[in-house]
Amino acid sequence: MVMATLCKNCGSPVVFDPKLQKVVCSACGSAWAAEDIQSSDKELLEKNKAVSYKDVYGETTREFVDCYIYTCSSCGGEISINGSEVSTKCVYCGSTSVVFNRISKEKAPEFIIPFSISKEDAVARIRQTFSNGMFVPKEIKNFNPSDVRGIYLPYWIVNGYHSEAEIIRGSRGSGKSRHTVYCGRAGSMGITNLPVDASIMLSDESSQRLEPFDFSKFVPFDEDYLLGFYSNVSDLTNVDLYEAVNKRASQCFQKKSMETFSANNKSVTLSRSATLIHKDVFYAMLPVWFVSFDYEGKHNTLLVNGQTGKVVGGVPWNKNLFYTLTVTLTSLFALIFAFFIHHFLVSPMELANLHSRKKQSPGSLIMVFGMIALVMIAIAFAKKKKVTKQIERSQSRSIFNFMKKRQG
């Protein structure tokens, strides 16, 4: 059954307004609290059975294999919806349709955090972030979003118990006295209110960076909060959930246990873990804006936390400015360091050599400074790689398709 709630006064489609936190009619301006809309109003709507894409159009390509066709309750137009979508918009009349039986059949979300950031606010926050970005190209600062979609993402909120035993490797000392050391750590920790993205199509790295959400703002789930937005149900199995929780808990355990070991370059060389997930996991929907724009022929998709406004993603950078600044600063710093080294280190060393039998070689100084320079360059490369990886993630087809392959 497809549900499209219509205004009681004029019959036009209604949508949820994040600013008012109410369901409003864009035609006559009537507004109601989502929980005040009677379920009898929804039941008046047309009941339709979903027909698979293949049944309607015969043999189909792989990307449509999981698609179903519904009829819009408002205009009778065709609504195409994929296997995990719950709400979408009719491409013909713009009405939001909620696949009501999909929420009922799948485990219905218990809680939802309604959007509190509007579409305009989401774009404004990105513009604000870009304006502070030193290496954001001018064309991107003046970007025009090619698509902005508000999507409720399904999350499992998990409590649990994680146990792990591990061997940590590190190094102590420097130069010739540098040596590798190992330690063993084992223990358990509780997991509290861990949000796990329940949508396989969205990468965990992207969804984790959207955190934190303020769970005190959870309200009991009502499908009217979905009006005007897209949404998906969970397509995660228990095993997927276990793996996601185990991975996240293990990262947390390892980070905390490494803090108890005094060494450099620490890493876990061997670990074994077991995670128990409390059976009272709860299922919730959390709001996220997906904003896409094109730059140099590539699609870029940024995410905005629909509750806090936190902007997540990698932005292409101005390479000319980056390299010009690096060369300029290198020249400046090189002159300063060369002057300092010559006058305060090498010259006094040469002077001391004249009056002493034990000669000191400036070669050892080059070695020391060379090592320091190498460490700084390695850290810098790691940072640059992090930025590049984030940009690749924002330009990946999977995140673009997750947002784009919806009607409306």
Binding site: M189, H278, F369
Partner: protein
Amino acid sequence: MDFLEIFTDLTSLLSGIGLGFGCAFLIVTGLLNRSNNLGDSVSDDDSISTGILFTSQENRPGVNVFNPAAGQIYVDSQLANIVRSREYQEYSQNALDTSKELVTRHDLEADNTSMNN
């Protein structure tokens, strides 16, 4: 200008260029990370977990040859002890039914490096 003078000047210049490039590159990539890597943070670990209650903290400083077999015995026996504990058994009574397989992560490359030490 004798050889020694040229050598000291060259030493200063080379060290200056190396340190200068290292410093400049570090600063510029730091600025790039702040400017173009948006939302580079996740939930604070303390907000999603209680503190760790360690059952074993074995420090073996000075041991610079890692024995993978001994390491495996250590992690297996320690985890087995935890799984047998009363807290774990009590928690498992209320646990969600999943595959509950133990997960082993083994950094083979690191072990090979260590064994060559």
